[in-house]
Symmetry: C2
């Protein structure tokens, strides 16, 4: 049996409000009342739900046909940050303990449309996540852990996932990401909002 | 002086909650209390604010280098739907009167990163929107109007915009978009959520 413990205790008012709105969604999976990143007693991350209503931060794309047919990441990556950590980011420009970033994998669908030749999003094919937690990752750079819910050669997703071995993700995130293991250089939403308060939610000028 | 009138009156509970949370943002521009699409007395659309906290639905990309150097839309399009219409979409799979869809233009930044060759989002360079309103557009297909806040050769945005002439947008949206003038075929978030209730916010299976 899985039990959960919460690693984030953010603004009570915000989270109370979220719990009243469709932005909070929890069915079938145990969820703590005030957090986004929930772990089993064995330290596995419970697959997040409702993340398509979180804050979208960017969509990197490295398609096969630009990488000799063998891209390491051939799909779109729709990347989201949890709303509580986003609220902190707008205030401080940093990632608080408890930050949960979700990367949803979307196949390249059509490459031709009325608007021209290009890349258009197809179907959902996977889900990955990273969590910043001093409690769960006391010894990793920045206290980040990386998780993969994708089931290979399938569109199924695991309900829980153990942290990936360090060599799978951390090396690149540590050496190439612009800020605190996160590729903020590719996320305009984060770059524009860092420390900007409500102006970070969309242009006020 | 601009005055505003509201074309959407959605769930009072949802909107009350949104008004208590950082998802609602309004500074400098007149906003009605319960709507997202606000018009001046002259029928111009007031530029939406806070849309980066709405629901992201997809990112079409038709770069110059895939269109003989002359793409009609050479930038990323980050597309969002307002939260009240999203709630309706999850219930019905249709766009209610008052739907406001925002398309934020983002330049192609780097084309090379640690993850491979590809396309990575650069800077914000424009903003467009479409609104479904029987009151404001009684005679257009589906009652949609299209707006452009972008100021050419500048990163500035207009605060208000008049509806675009029909030939600028409607023809293509009417003949090529999969559902009700919206290119749902390129928006996996909408496709996966249509009529699915809370499951539409992120995978529950």
């Amino acid at each position: 049996m899985n039990t959960t413990n919460t690693i984030y205790s953010g603004s009570a008012a915000l989270l109370l409000c979220l719990s009243m709105s469709p932005f909070a969604s929890a069915e079938n999976v145990p969820q703590a009342s005030s957090g986004y990143a929930n772990f089993t007693s064995a330290g596995e991350l419970v697959r997040p739900l409702g993340y398509r209503e979180w804050i979208f931060i960017g969509t990197p794309l490295t398609p096969n046909d630009m990488n000799n047919g063998k891209a390491s990441f051939p799909e779109f990556h729709n990347v989201y940050i949890d709303p509580a950590s986003w609220a902190d980011w707008k205030k401080t420009g940093g990632f608080p303990d408890g930050t949960l970033i979700v990367k949803e994998l979307v196949s390249v669908g059509s490459k031709q449309a009325a608007s021209g030749n290009g890349y258009f999003q197809g179907e959902y094919i996977g889900l990955e996540a990273s969590v910043k937690s001093k409690q769960h990752f006391p010894d990793t750079p920045g206290h980040w852990g990386f998780f993969r819910f994708t089931v290979e050669i399938s569109q199924a997703l695991r309900k829980i996932a153990a942290a990936q071995p360090g060599e799978n993700c951390m090396g690149c995130h540590q050496s190439k990401a612009a800020q605190d293991q996160v590729f903020t250089q590719h996320y305009p939403v984060l770059r524009a909002a860092a420390g900007k308060g409500s102006a970070g939610a969309g242009r006020l000028d």
